[in-house]
């Protein structure tokens, strides 16, 4: 068997990233769109940590910052989602076409 190199991890990360992008671009359910964004962030994290094996710990630090960011993004995103659901009674992202209500 070939040894597992950095490239292997990067390919996994690329696949996850692509999946996340597909989710964001094609799904209509806001919750799933938000989850796809989490997938993208995770793909980035995997990249960062894979590189941190080559260039030192800075990648891991950045991964931690990305996790922090993801937490903030999830909180605000879900807050918006709840406000949106209260007004429109739907979680469909296509309905978010007004910039105010």
């Amino acid at each position: 068997m070939t040894p597992i190199t950095t490239v292997h991890y990067l390919v996994v990360a690329a696949a996850l990233f692509a999946l996340g992008v597909i989710g964001v671009l094609t799904r209509r359910n806001v919750v799933i769109v938000l989850m796809s964004i989490e997938l993208i962030l995770n793909a980035v994290n995997l990249n960062l940590i894979a590189f941190s094996r080559l260039w030192g710990l800075h990648g891991q630090i950045f991964a931690i910052f990305v996790v922090t960011d993801a937490a903030a993004e999830a909180a605000v995103g879900l807050g918006i989602l709840i406000a949106f659901f209260r007004n429109k009674e739907t979680v469909n992202v296509d309905e978010v076409d007004l910039l105010k209500w």
Partner: protein, 169 residues
């Protein structure tokens, strides 16, 4: 650790994360999607452990799987998912989106495979100190400012979420 086990675990975890990643974007029911996402996150934590990043793996489990995903499930339960399941799941431009995303992923893979020289660098030796300690030192040393900014970001996010989810504005 024996290389066979490493290889096996890598393919196992990578396969798990990609399969459940596909489930995330395909399932109708958001709760199922969230569960699949949790599996992805746990598999990723395993991959981090294989990359000698135990602290990030722990953070991943506590914050992502234990915190953020609970938030997601909480919100999914608050909103009515019965109706959203019956609606059309994909939007009109899904084919274009799929193509674009696949092209992007293909580009990444192409670059990684064709440009291996970038990644031929020898992996660093496993350090004497514990990973947690090193991260702590760096976080409170070089990245002090960024760390403070991150805490500010979290504060803003908390206030924003509270204001947004509040009933009476």
């Amino acid at each position: 650790m024996q290389p066979v086990a490493t290889t096996f675990f890598f393919y196992f975890l990578a396969g798990l994360s990609i399969v459940s990643g596909i489930a995330v974007i395909l399932r109708k029911n958001p709760v199922h999607s969230a569960l699949a996402l949790i599996v992805t996150l746990l598999a990723q934590a395993g991959l981090y452990l294989m990359l000698y990043a135990p602290f990030v793996a722990g953070v991943q489990i506590i914050l992502y799987a234990g915190g953020i995903m609970v938030l997601f499930l909480f919100v999914i339960m608050l909103v009515n998912i019965e109706r959203s399941q019956k609606e059309e799941q994909f939007n009109k431009q899904w084919f274009a989106g799929l193509l674009a995303a696949l092209a992007l992923g293909g580009l990444f893979v192409f670059v990684y495979v064709k440009g291996p020289a970038l990644f031929q660098k020898q992996t660093l030796p496993i350090p004497e100190q514990s990973n947690t300690q090193q991260i702590g030192v760096m976080l409170y040393g070089n990245y002090m400012f960024a760390f403070e900014i991150a805490s500010l970001l979290l504060l803003v996010a908390i206030i924003g979420a509270v204001v947004m989810a509040k009933k009476r504005i």
